[in-house]
Amino acid sequence: MKPENPLLALLALTAGVLFLSPVLYSIWMSFQTADAYYTGKLDFTLSNYEMAIGQYNFARYLLNSVIVSGLVTIVGLAVATMAAFAFARYRFPGGNLMFGAVVATLMIPSHITLIPNYLTLANAGLLDTYAGLILPAISNGFAAFFLRQYIRGIPRALDEAAYMDGATPLQVLWRVIVPIAKPAILSMGLYIFITEWNNYIWPLVAVGREDLYTLQIGLARLYRIDPGEGVINWPLVMAASTITILPVLLGFIFVERHLVRGIMMGAVK
């Protein structure tokens, strides 16, 4: 693709630099020693990464974050897609009421559900477990709502054609609806993943054991660890931050390609 309008290209370039520069700066900073950083010398070291992984257990936090966000995304998408299919295609007693309830959850701030969720999980004995981190996040009202709207836009005749071809409702969902709704489902997946990856408050509340910390909790703890002279060790924080954003960035680049392809496929009808 060649830029059609040089002005637009310039604008995009400026925006790109603006968005990228803090990220690049923090990545650059993560390779400096604390001494070099505070004295303004230039240096290159991997010691911050070694410290984050060796001393502060960030490999474990990364694994936890991948497990939690990954499962929340996969299970959450499955739940939301099936709910969306049911809401879009079936009329059942109480269906509208249930859909209204789903939409209503969008208007409730998560802080209001924080304590009830905490008490529920505490009663179930699920605090300090992966399940405790994952379960509250898998029912995502917004995803169900968004996908329902998308599925309603898919002609019902396609479902009917599949039923005539001998499909069961689950086959219709899996073989016809899901492939067609793939762009929407992938976007939702990305959204759920990023939201969960960045989730701070719930893991903070639900988990006390250090080996169940997610990246965000681990990162926050770095601020509280005094490096010695009463100052924050910024290069260490930046190394940990880089570990935190890198998987999301890679994930986005991977999914984005699919998204574009999916959207192009959907456009041809």
Binding site: P155, A157, L158, E160, A161, A162, Y163, M164, D165, G166, A167, T168, Q171, R175, V176, P179, I180, K182, M265, G266, V268, K269
Partner: protein, 359 residues
Amino acid sequence: MSAITLKDIRKSYDDGPQVLHGVSMDIGDGEFIVIVGPSGCGKSTLLRLLAGLDPCKEGELLIDGRRANDLPPQDRDIAMIFQNYALYPHMTVLENIAFGLELRKVPKIERIARARDVAETLQLTPYLDRKPGALSGGQRQRVAMGRAMARNSSTFLMDEPLSNLDNSLRVAMRTEIKDLHRQLGATIVYVTHDQTEALSLADRVAVMKDGHLQQFDTPDVIYDQPANRFVAGFLGAPAMNFVSAEQLGGWDAPLDVEIGFRPEALTLHHARPAQPAIEARVALTEMTGSAFILHCDSPGGRMCAVVPRGEALPVEGDQIWLALEPSQALCFDPVTGVRLDMPQTSPDQCRAVLARGAA
């Protein structure tokens, strides 16, 4: 192979008025049935009941003599071709055709061979790897056809399958469908609101109006002996002319019946003829290729006549007479629209019947 029987089928949608008011039909094994009727008369509704896509709660639906009201679509051995084809946009042509076989667990090698065979018949082989989005309307139509054919169903339901095609393609596909019917020997129920399609394809035509079945018979009978004024007016192009008997000059028939005659039954005279004739003024002439259509204003209203090419044509505004052979006229009750039976032999008998109809 299967025979279908409908007994007094009624249907209302949840939040609407009744759409079907007791439709009964016997469809024989291997028959080609065409359902025609104006838009909104319930044709698609009827087809969806046959397919099992909508529940059939009132009346009885028998397939091969067994009650099928509650049979889900996948157990009916019926294939359906939708008006807008409903091809799966994410699958290639081959996958579209083979999907039904895949769902029925036909082994991969076998289903691909079968799908290729079908594609060959429909001349789709060059497009097997394309997605439906990259096909022309006619090609999509054939894929939809192929999808239905691959499964070897005993019955095909087609809801206006040709309505999205341009005219020449429609005519070509019409012959292809007819050929297919001959090859497959399957029962076909075909919905259209194009009356030419109905008459040219059908073994028997079912004419519907407002959820009522008006007549169900062979194209010949439907055309020559329509059950009522609606059927008479709906089939045939240009449409049948209707006048009330009193306006028909030279026909000293008793009044109070409506007379219908096809435009082809009129002969053109430049002076008053001896037989019953209508005096009219030419408003418009239209050339169809093999003939001319005269649109005339008569005391009975606008009227059409078909004049073969080569005859001396009147020009617009000319005074003419349109003569009618009484044996080609049909009489209808002016109130109910029902056709009054009359032996079509002599004008005398016609007059007698007209007298009876008036009585």
